[in-house]
Amino acid sequence: MPSITFIDSKGTSRVIDAEVGSTVMETAIRHKVPEIVAECGGACACATCHVYVDEAFMPIVGKPQAMEEDMLDFAYDVKPNSRLSCQIKVTAALDGLTITTPDRQG
């Protein structure tokens, strides 16, 4: 299983084995990772699953689709490596990915 490291805004990190086919948001929620709220349950309708993707992985994870880019307007402190974690599908290629969470989801 690909392993994903979540680093929260205070610097605490958690290494989690993610299931291929689920989303990064689902992985986080299932393992009670803090700072990801996911109010809408993954429908790309709330922007409370905002995360920063490790720059090195950006080419693999990819850029947001138009609908996700629109939803990101509702997130705070959006950066070039911002993504909504419910829109990132876990694949074997994501093994070793580091995700940083913002201190507030709004």
Binding site: C40, E69, D73, F74, D103
Partner: protein
Amino acid sequence: MSAAIETDVVIIGAGPVGLFAVFELGLLDIKCHLIDILPMAGGQCAELYPEKPIYDIPGHPTVTGQGLVDRLLEQSEPFKPTFHYGEMVEAIEVLGDGSAPLFRLRTDIGKTITCKAVVIAAGGGSFQPKKPPIPGIEAYEGTSVHYAVRKMEAFRDKHVVVVGGGDSALDWTLNLQPLAKRMTLVHRRDDFRAAPHSVNAMRDLVASGQMDLAIGQITGLDGADGHLSAVDLKGADSSVSRIACERLIPFFGLTMKLGPIANWGLNLTENLVAVDTEKFETSTPGIFAIGDINSYPGKLKLILSGFHEGALAAQRIHRYVYPEKRLTFQYTTSSTSLQRKLGVA
């Protein structure tokens, strides 16, 4: 403030579950008023996912959020419910007792409604504007920072900054631009979700020098005693610039907050209203809770569960509204009396 209203039942929340409760209550000759903070019916379905398909509404292999709301409105139409939009229920006063409940509800604009039973169908709580986490923003709220425009005059001859890229942000930019001393629209990217005609109108005003467009995110505020004098803008290249302004209107979408419901003296379980599963009544007799807002063992936050809860609550509410009448169980397919109420017989 406004005239006092009397009715059988007030439903707090015009989401899918509140709308179907109108139908179930209507079949039992019970009249309803609905109150919702949103400007329209439909709750989460209309506000969060109007165009997304729902696949688990019985009998509808697929229906969009808005499609379902439109059909529920059509279904409850024969019972002529009264809608009070754009108002939040703030307080419930208990006037009667358990054998003959009576309540007086008050909304945030001071309207009062007296009724025999209350149905809380408040979903995840009332939709309220999201506040951007800009340090110190609270100090300016209500004086210089506004999350909605109530009186346009308050913005006359002011330098106004609107933040956002959706319809609310663009509409208010265009509406307030003629009154404002100067209008600046701030958005994190040079791409807008809002309707193309308003985006074009905004771009024309920018091109002719009648307003400004700034791309970036607001990171700080400057001012004193609740009076804003400038905002700091972090551009895409991370450089920070300052925009002088007296009013800030951020549009960051809506979030759901339990809100005043927490103060109504009802038993809560983890921020949800505890109910029984026979009548979906709360710890206060005569106040019911159905849909996403309630909690009981085995609860599923599905629209279909909320429909069932409304049907059962209606049976009990009938006893409060018509204590002298016996309720006989009837089917809509075969009962002429129900069909008359629906206007089909």
